[in-house]
Amino acid sequence: MAEGVNFEDLVACHYGPLYQFAYSLTRDEADACDLTQQTFCIWAAKGHQLRDVSKVKTWLFTTLHREFLGSRRREVRFPHVELEQAAAELPTVSPASVHQLDSGQLLDALGQLDEIYRAAVVLFYLQDYTYNEIAEILEIPLGTVKSRLTRGLARLHHLLTHVRPPLKP
Protein backbone atom coordinates (compact mmCIF):
# COMPACT_ATOMS: atom_id res chain seq x y z
CA MET A 1 0.00 0.00 0.00
CA ALA A 2 1.13 3.57 -0.67
CA GLU A 3 -0.12 4.82 2.68
CA GLY A 4 3.39 4.92 4.08
CA VAL A 5 4.67 7.33 1.42
CA ASN A 6 5.64 10.63 3.01
CA PHE A 7 3.91 13.47 1.20
CA GLU A 8 6.76 15.94 1.47
CA ASP A 9 9.30 13.41 0.28
CA LEU A 10 7.03 12.54 -2.62
CA VAL A 11 6.69 16.17 -3.63
CA ALA A 12 10.42 16.81 -3.30
CA CYS A 13 11.16 13.81 -5.50
CA HIS A 14 8.66 14.36 -8.31
CA TYR A 15 7.46 17.94 -8.47
CA GLY A 16 10.19 19.05 -10.84
CA PRO A 17 9.69 16.45 -13.59
CA LEU A 18 5.94 16.73 -13.18
CA TYR A 19 6.07 20.48 -13.61
CA GLN A 20 8.29 20.14 -16.67
CA PHE A 21 5.84 17.65 -18.15
CA ALA A 22 2.93 19.95 -17.35
CA TYR A 23 4.72 22.96 -18.79
CA SER A 24 5.56 21.05 -21.94
CA LEU A 25 1.88 20.27 -22.35
CA THR A 26 0.42 23.64 -21.46
CA ARG A 27 3.29 26.03 -22.25
CA ASP A 28 1.95 28.24 -19.51
CA GLU A 29 3.65 28.55 -16.14
CA ALA A 30 0.51 29.18 -14.11
CA ASP A 31 -1.38 26.33 -15.75
CA ALA A 32 1.58 24.03 -15.25
CA CYS A 33 1.81 24.97 -11.57
CA ASP A 34 -1.91 24.35 -11.17
CA LEU A 35 -1.69 20.98 -12.87
CA THR A 36 1.25 19.96 -10.70
CA GLN A 37 -0.50 21.15 -7.56
CA GLN A 38 -3.71 19.39 -8.55
CA THR A 39 -1.86 16.15 -9.17
CA PHE A 40 -0.46 16.12 -5.65
CA CYS A 41 -3.85 17.12 -4.32
CA ILE A 42 -5.37 14.06 -5.95
CA TRP A 43 -2.54 11.96 -4.58
CA ALA A 44 -3.33 13.23 -1.07
CA ALA A 45 -6.94 12.20 -1.51
CA LYS A 46 -6.59 8.95 -3.43
CA GLY A 47 -2.96 7.92 -3.31
CA HIS A 48 -3.60 5.49 -0.48
CA GLN A 49 -5.50 3.34 -2.95
CA LEU A 50 -2.34 2.61 -4.88
CA ARG A 51 -1.12 -0.82 -3.85
CA ASP A 52 2.24 -0.90 -5.60
CA VAL A 53 4.56 1.80 -4.28
CA SER A 54 6.87 1.33 -7.25
CA LYS A 55 4.09 2.72 -9.44
CA VAL A 56 3.90 6.05 -7.65
CA LYS A 57 5.79 7.97 -10.31
CA THR A 58 3.77 6.48 -13.14
CA TRP A 59 0.58 7.14 -11.17
CA LEU A 60 1.53 10.81 -10.77
CA PHE A 61 2.27 11.30 -14.45
CA THR A 62 -0.89 9.45 -15.46
CA THR A 63 -2.94 11.62 -13.14
CA LEU A 64 -1.37 14.82 -14.40
CA HIS A 65 -2.01 13.83 -17.99
CA ARG A 66 -5.64 12.97 -17.20
CA GLU A 67 -6.09 16.31 -15.52
CA PHE A 68 -4.57 18.06 -18.51
CA LEU A 69 -6.93 16.30 -20.88
CA GLY A 70 -9.84 17.02 -18.56
CA SER A 71 -8.92 20.67 -18.34
CA ARG A 72 -8.84 20.90 -22.09
CA ARG A 73 -12.30 19.35 -22.29
CA ARG A 74 -11.10 17.54 -25.29
CA GLU A 75 -11.66 13.93 -25.92
CA VAL A 76 -8.54 12.38 -27.31
CA ARG A 77 -9.20 9.04 -28.85
CA PHE A 78 -6.45 6.78 -29.95
CA PRO A 79 -5.69 7.68 -33.54
CA HIS A 80 -3.10 5.28 -34.69
CA VAL A 81 -0.58 6.72 -37.09
CA GLU A 82 0.83 4.10 -39.38
CA LEU A 83 4.46 3.41 -38.88
CA GLU A 84 5.23 4.73 -42.27
CA GLN A 85 8.67 5.32 -43.52
CA ALA A 86 9.57 8.33 -41.41
CA ALA A 87 13.07 8.42 -42.76
CA ALA A 88 11.96 10.91 -45.37
CA GLU A 89 11.15 13.30 -42.57
CA LEU A 90 14.23 12.58 -40.58
CA PRO A 91 15.87 15.70 -39.27
CA THR A 92 18.82 17.40 -40.65
CA VAL A 93 19.30 19.37 -37.48
CA SER A 94 22.68 18.63 -35.99
CA PRO A 95 23.44 17.89 -32.35
CA ALA A 96 25.51 21.04 -32.24
CA SER A 97 22.50 23.08 -33.36
CA VAL A 98 20.41 21.51 -30.66
CA HIS A 99 22.95 22.61 -28.10
CA GLN A 100 22.47 26.20 -29.24
CA LEU A 101 18.76 26.07 -28.56
CA ASP A 102 17.32 27.43 -25.40
CA SER A 103 14.38 25.79 -23.61
CA GLY A 104 11.98 28.42 -24.89
CA GLN A 105 12.80 27.65 -28.51
CA LEU A 106 12.45 23.97 -27.88
CA LEU A 107 9.07 24.51 -26.29
CA ASP A 108 7.97 26.73 -29.15
CA ALA A 109 8.72 23.90 -31.53
CA LEU A 110 7.04 21.45 -29.21
CA GLY A 111 4.00 23.68 -29.14
CA GLN A 112 3.69 23.37 -32.88
CA LEU A 113 3.40 19.62 -32.57
CA ASP A 114 -0.08 18.20 -32.64
CA GLU A 115 -1.25 17.64 -29.10
CA ILE A 116 -1.59 13.90 -29.55
CA TYR A 117 2.15 13.61 -30.16
CA ARG A 118 3.30 16.11 -27.58
CA ALA A 119 2.82 14.16 -24.35
CA ALA A 120 4.51 11.05 -25.72
CA VAL A 121 7.48 13.04 -26.99
CA VAL A 122 7.92 14.86 -23.69
CA LEU A 123 7.79 11.66 -21.69
CA PHE A 124 10.25 10.10 -24.09
CA TYR A 125 12.82 12.82 -23.51
CA LEU A 126 12.04 13.94 -20.03
CA GLN A 127 11.88 10.78 -18.03
CA ASP A 128 13.37 7.98 -20.04
CA TYR A 129 10.18 6.07 -19.63
CA THR A 130 9.90 2.78 -21.45
CA TYR A 131 7.30 2.53 -24.16
CA ASN A 132 5.18 0.36 -21.91
CA GLU A 133 5.32 2.99 -19.17
CA ILE A 134 4.42 5.74 -21.60
CA ALA A 135 1.51 3.63 -22.79
CA GLU A 136 0.41 3.21 -19.18
CA ILE A 137 0.68 6.92 -18.39
CA LEU A 138 -1.12 8.06 -21.52
CA GLU A 139 -3.53 5.14 -21.31
CA ILE A 140 -3.09 4.20 -24.93
CA PRO A 141 -1.93 0.99 -26.61
CA LEU A 142 1.78 0.30 -27.01
CA GLY A 143 1.56 0.42 -30.80
CA THR A 144 -0.02 3.83 -30.60
CA VAL A 145 2.83 5.05 -28.41
CA LYS A 146 5.37 3.98 -30.97
CA SER A 147 3.50 5.50 -33.85
CA ARG A 148 3.04 8.77 -32.00
CA LEU A 149 6.69 8.87 -31.03
CA THR A 150 7.90 8.11 -34.52
CA ARG A 151 5.75 10.78 -36.05
CA GLY A 152 6.20 13.25 -33.20
CA LEU A 153 9.98 12.99 -33.02
CA ALA A 154 10.32 13.30 -36.74
CA ARG A 155 8.15 16.39 -36.79
CA LEU A 156 9.87 17.93 -33.81
CA HIS A 157 13.27 17.49 -35.36
CA HIS A 158 11.97 18.89 -38.59
CA LEU A 159 10.54 21.90 -36.80
CA LEU A 160 13.80 22.52 -35.01
CA THR A 161 15.61 22.96 -38.30
CA HIS A 162 13.51 26.09 -38.89
CA VAL A 163 13.68 27.69 -35.48
CA ARG A 164 16.41 30.30 -35.90
CA PRO A 165 19.16 31.08 -38.43
CA PRO A 166 21.87 29.47 -36.26
CA LEU A 167 19.90 26.26 -36.45
CA LYS A 168 19.93 26.06 -40.20
CA PRO A 169 21.45 22.84 -41.37
Binding site: F7, Y15, C33, T36, C41, Q85, A86, A87, P95, D128
Partner: protein
Protein backbone atom coordinates in the same frame (compact mmCIF):
# COMPACT_ATOMS: atom_id res chain seq x y z
CA UNK B 1 14.90 -4.67 -42.91
CA UNK B 2 16.55 -2.04 -45.08
CA UNK B 3 18.46 1.05 -43.96
CA UNK B 4 15.50 3.47 -44.07
CA UNK B 5 13.32 1.10 -42.11
CA UNK B 6 16.10 0.76 -39.57
CA UNK B 7 16.38 4.54 -39.28
CA UNK B 8 12.68 4.83 -38.64
CA UNK B 9 12.92 2.26 -35.89
CA UNK B 10 16.11 3.69 -34.41
CA UNK B 11 14.58 7.11 -34.24
CA UNK B 12 12.97 5.84 -31.04
CA UNK B 13 16.11 4.24 -29.71
CA UNK B 14 17.56 5.53 -26.49
CA UNK B 15 20.90 4.08 -25.62
CA UNK B 16 20.62 1.40 -22.99
CA UNK B 17 16.90 1.80 -22.49
CA UNK B 18 15.18 0.19 -25.44
CA UNK B 19 17.62 -2.43 -26.70
CA UNK B 20 15.38 -5.28 -25.59
CA UNK B 21 12.71 -4.28 -28.10
CA UNK B 22 13.01 -6.93 -30.88
CA UNK B 23 12.65 -4.44 -33.73
CA UNK B 24 15.24 -2.12 -32.22
CA UNK B 25 17.57 -5.02 -31.56
CA UNK B 26 17.32 -6.02 -35.21
CA UNK B 27 17.94 -2.44 -36.36
CA UNK B 28 20.93 -2.15 -34.03
CA UNK B 29 22.36 -5.34 -35.42
CA UNK B 30 21.99 -3.92 -38.91
CA UNK B 31 23.77 -0.71 -37.80
CA UNK B 32 26.75 -2.74 -36.66
CA UNK B 33 27.22 -4.07 -40.16
CA UNK B 34 26.30 -0.84 -42.03
CA UNK B 35 28.86 1.98 -41.52
CA UNK B 36 26.55 4.68 -42.90
CA UNK B 37 23.70 3.60 -40.65
CA UNK B 38 26.14 3.40 -37.78
CA UNK B 39 27.27 7.02 -38.35
CA UNK B 40 23.67 8.15 -38.62
CA UNK B 41 22.83 6.35 -35.37
CA UNK B 42 25.76 7.97 -33.59
CA UNK B 43 24.60 11.43 -34.64
CA UNK B 44 21.03 10.58 -33.80
CA UNK B 45 22.07 9.53 -30.30
CA UNK B 46 23.97 12.77 -29.78
CA UNK B 47 20.92 14.73 -30.95
CA UNK B 48 18.64 12.78 -28.66
CA UNK B 49 20.92 13.39 -25.71
CA UNK B 50 21.09 17.11 -26.49
CA UNK B 51 17.31 17.33 -26.72
CA UNK B 52 16.90 15.37 -23.51
CA UNK B 53 19.17 17.85 -21.78
CA UNK B 54 17.14 20.77 -23.13
CA UNK B 55 13.88 19.33 -21.85
CA UNK B 56 15.40 18.90 -18.43
CA UNK B 57 16.47 22.53 -18.47
CA UNK B 58 12.88 23.73 -18.42
CA UNK B 59 13.03 26.05 -15.42
CA UNK B 60 10.94 25.12 -12.43
CA UNK B 61 9.39 28.08 -10.59
CA UNK B 62 11.08 28.83 -7.31
CA UNK B 63 8.94 28.01 -4.35
CA UNK B 64 6.65 25.57 -6.19
CA UNK B 65 7.56 22.69 -3.91
CA UNK B 66 6.96 24.76 -0.78
CA UNK B 67 3.68 26.02 -2.21
CA UNK B 68 2.44 22.49 -2.91
CA UNK B 69 3.37 21.30 0.56
CA UNK B 70 1.98 24.31 2.38
CA UNK B 71 -1.28 24.33 0.43
CA UNK B 72 -1.76 20.63 1.08
CA UNK B 73 -1.09 21.20 4.78
CA UNK B 74 -3.66 24.02 4.76
CA UNK B 75 -6.14 21.81 2.93
CA UNK B 76 -5.59 19.06 5.48
CA UNK B 77 -6.18 21.47 8.34
CA UNK B 78 -9.29 22.85 6.65
CA UNK B 79 -10.58 19.34 6.06
CA UNK B 80 -9.99 18.50 9.71
CA UNK B 81 -11.89 21.62 10.75
CA UNK B 82 -14.73 20.76 8.37
CA UNK B 83 -14.86 17.25 9.78
CA UNK B 84 -15.08 18.65 13.30
CA UNK B 85 -17.81 21.09 12.35
CA UNK B 86 -19.73 18.49 10.37
CA UNK B 87 -19.31 16.01 13.20
CA UNK B 88 -20.53 18.49 15.78
CA UNK B 89 -23.44 19.47 13.56
CA UNK B 90 -24.34 15.84 13.05
CA UNK B 91 -24.23 15.16 16.78
CA UNK B 92 -26.33 18.27 17.45
CA UNK B 93 -28.83 17.29 14.76
CA UNK B 94 -29.12 13.80 16.17
CA UNK B 95 -29.54 15.17 19.68
CA UNK B 96 -32.24 17.61 18.58
CA UNK B 97 -33.99 14.87 16.63
CA UNK B 98 -33.92 12.56 19.64
CA UNK B 99 -35.24 15.30 21.89
CA UNK B 100 -38.05 16.05 19.47
CA UNK B 101 -38.90 12.39 19.14
CA UNK B 102 -38.86 12.00 22.88
CA UNK B 103 -41.00 15.07 23.29
CA UNK B 104 -43.60 13.78 20.91
CA UNK B 105 -43.67 10.12 21.77
CA UNK B 106 -42.63 9.66 25.37
CA UNK B 107 -45.59 9.70 27.72
CA UNK B 108 -45.62 12.74 29.90
CA UNK B 109 -46.49 12.41 33.52
CA UNK B 110 -47.99 14.93 35.85
CA UNK B 111 -45.19 16.65 37.70
CA UNK B 112 -42.69 16.34 34.86
CA UNK B 113 -42.36 19.76 33.29
CA UNK B 114 -41.25 20.24 29.74
CA UNK B 115 -39.32 23.26 28.80
CA UNK B 116 -41.23 25.06 26.11
CA UNK B 117 -41.52 28.72 25.41
CA UNK B 118 -44.13 30.14 27.72
CA UNK B 119 -46.92 30.85 25.25
CA UNK B 120 -50.58 29.98 25.16
CA UNK B 121 -50.10 27.77 22.10
CA UNK B 122 -47.39 25.77 23.82
CA UNK B 123 -49.41 25.49 27.01
CA UNK B 124 -52.36 24.20 25.02
CA UNK B 125 -50.16 21.71 23.19
CA UNK B 126 -48.50 20.44 26.34
CA UNK B 127 -51.78 19.95 28.14
CA UNK B 128 -53.27 18.10 25.19
CA UNK B 129 -50.16 15.91 25.09
CA UNK B 130 -50.69 15.19 28.76
CA UNK B 131 -54.34 14.27 28.20
CA UNK B 132 -53.45 11.93 25.34
CA UNK B 133 -50.44 10.37 27.02
CA UNK B 134 -52.15 7.81 29.21
CA UNK B 135 -51.36 9.64 32.42
CA UNK B 136 -52.30 8.21 35.81
CA UNK B 137 -54.93 10.10 37.77
CA UNK B 138 -53.76 11.20 41.19
CA UNK B 139 -57.24 10.75 42.57
CA UNK B 140 -60.28 8.85 41.34
CA UNK B 141 -63.54 10.31 42.52
CA UNK B 142 -66.89 11.49 41.22
CA UNK B 143 -67.45 14.06 43.93
CA UNK B 144 -66.60 17.60 42.84
CA UNK B 145 -65.98 18.83 46.39
CA UNK B 146 -63.66 15.95 47.15
CA UNK B 147 -61.65 16.66 44.02
CA UNK B 148 -61.38 20.37 44.79
CA UNK B 149 -60.20 19.57 48.30
CA UNK B 150 -57.56 17.21 46.95
CA UNK B 151 -56.29 19.81 44.51
CA UNK B 152 -56.18 22.47 47.18
CA UNK B 153 -54.18 20.15 49.33
CA UNK B 154 -51.70 19.73 46.49
CA UNK B 155 -51.43 23.53 46.06
CA UNK B 156 -52.90 23.16 42.59
CA UNK B 157 -55.62 25.50 41.29
CA UNK B 158 -58.84 24.51 43.03
CA UNK B 159 -61.01 27.64 43.05
CA UNK B 160 -62.32 27.04 39.59
CA UNK B 161 -65.83 27.31 38.30
CA UNK B 162 -67.13 24.54 36.11
CA UNK B 163 -69.10 25.63 33.06
CA UNK B 164 -72.73 24.66 33.06
CA UNK B 165 -72.25 21.88 30.52
CA UNK B 166 -69.68 20.12 32.66
CA UNK B 167 -71.71 20.18 35.83
CA UNK B 168 -73.89 17.41 34.47
CA UNK B 169 -71.05 15.39 33.01
CA UNK B 170 -69.67 12.35 34.74
CA UNK B 171 -66.68 13.27 36.86
CA UNK B 172 -63.95 10.64 37.04
CA UNK B 173 -61.05 12.12 38.98
CA UNK B 174 -58.15 14.52 38.80
CA UNK B 175 -54.42 14.89 38.48
CA UNK B 176 -51.86 17.61 38.99
CA UNK B 177 -49.87 18.60 35.96
CA UNK B 178 -47.05 21.06 35.52
CA UNK B 179 -46.54 24.01 33.27
CA UNK B 180 -43.12 25.67 33.50
CA UNK B 181 -42.63 26.00 37.26
CA UNK B 182 -46.24 26.04 38.35
CA UNK B 183 -49.03 23.54 38.79
CA UNK B 184 -52.06 22.98 36.62
CA UNK B 185 -55.14 21.09 37.72
CA UNK B 186 -56.52 18.41 35.46
CA UNK B 187 -60.13 17.42 36.07
CA UNK B 188 -61.21 14.34 34.17
CA UNK B 189 -64.70 13.63 32.84
CA UNK B 190 -66.35 10.97 30.77
CA UNK B 191 -68.66 11.88 27.89
CA UNK B 192 -70.39 8.53 27.81
CA UNK B 193 -68.96 7.48 24.49
CA UNK B 194 -67.16 4.14 24.33
CA UNK B 195 -63.58 4.42 25.55
CA UNK B 196 -60.52 2.80 24.09
CA UNK B 197 -58.99 -0.01 26.16
CA UNK B 198 -57.11 1.49 29.10
CA UNK B 199 -58.68 4.89 28.60
CA UNK B 200 -60.26 6.34 31.74
CA UNK B 201 -61.66 9.60 30.48
CA UNK B 202 -62.33 11.42 27.25
CA UNK B 203 -63.01 14.96 28.38
CA UNK B 204 -60.40 17.02 30.19
CA UNK B 205 -60.49 20.38 31.89
CA UNK B 206 -57.22 22.10 32.72
CA UNK B 207 -57.10 25.02 35.09
CA UNK B 208 -54.06 27.16 35.79
CA UNK B 209 -53.42 30.60 37.19
CA UNK B 210 -53.74 32.91 34.18
CA UNK B 211 -50.53 34.71 35.13
CA UNK B 212 -48.49 31.53 34.69
CA UNK B 213 -48.92 31.66 30.92
CA UNK B 214 -47.34 34.68 29.31
CA UNK B 215 -49.36 37.30 27.49
CA UNK B 216 -52.74 35.67 27.81
CA UNK B 217 -55.41 38.33 27.35
CA UNK B 218 -58.81 38.15 28.90
CA UNK B 219 -60.76 35.59 26.89
CA UNK B 220 -64.39 36.03 27.69
CA UNK B 221 -65.73 33.92 24.83
CA UNK B 222 -64.13 30.51 24.39
CA UNK B 223 -61.54 30.25 21.65
CA UNK B 224 -61.59 27.00 19.73
CA UNK B 225 -58.54 25.28 18.32
CA UNK B 226 -57.73 21.80 17.03
CA UNK B 227 -54.66 20.35 18.70
CA UNK B 228 -53.43 16.85 17.88
CA UNK B 229 -56.91 15.74 16.88
CA UNK B 230 -58.68 17.17 19.90
CA UNK B 231 -60.98 20.14 19.81
CA UNK B 232 -60.09 22.58 22.55
CA UNK B 233 -61.85 25.54 24.08
CA UNK B 234 -59.87 28.17 25.97
CA UNK B 235 -61.18 30.97 28.15
CA UNK B 236 -60.31 32.97 31.23
CA UNK B 237 -62.37 33.70 34.28
CA UNK B 238 -61.47 35.29 37.61
CA UNK B 239 -57.72 35.09 36.97
CA UNK B 240 -57.83 31.44 35.95
CA UNK B 241 -57.06 30.08 32.50
CA UNK B 242 -59.38 27.25 31.49
CA UNK B 243 -58.66 24.72 28.76
CA UNK B 244 -61.21 22.08 27.87
CA UNK B 245 -60.44 19.34 25.38
CA UNK B 246 -62.16 16.33 23.85
CA UNK B 247 -62.44 14.45 20.59
CA UNK B 248 -64.80 15.99 18.06
CA UNK B 249 -65.52 19.43 16.73
CA UNK B 250 -66.72 22.80 18.00
CA UNK B 251 -70.30 21.60 18.21
CA UNK B 252 -69.17 18.67 20.32
CA UNK B 253 -67.29 20.75 22.83
CA UNK B 254 -69.87 23.50 23.04
CA UNK B 255 -72.18 21.01 24.74
CA UNK B 256 -69.83 21.06 27.74
CA UNK B 257 -69.49 24.81 28.11
Amino acid sequence: MNRDEAKTILLLYRSGADATDPEIAEALALAKSDPELSRWLEEQQARQEALRGKFRQIPIPAGLKEQIISEQAAATRAAARREKVVGAAAVAAIAVSLLMLAWFFMPSRPGQPRLLANTLDNYRLQMVNLALSGYAMDMTANDAGQIQAFLANKQAPSSYTLPAGLKNTALIGCAVGRWQHSKASLICFRTGKPLAPGQQSDLWLFVINQAEVNDVPAITSPQYAKVRGLITATWTQNGQLYLLGTAGDEQTIKKYL
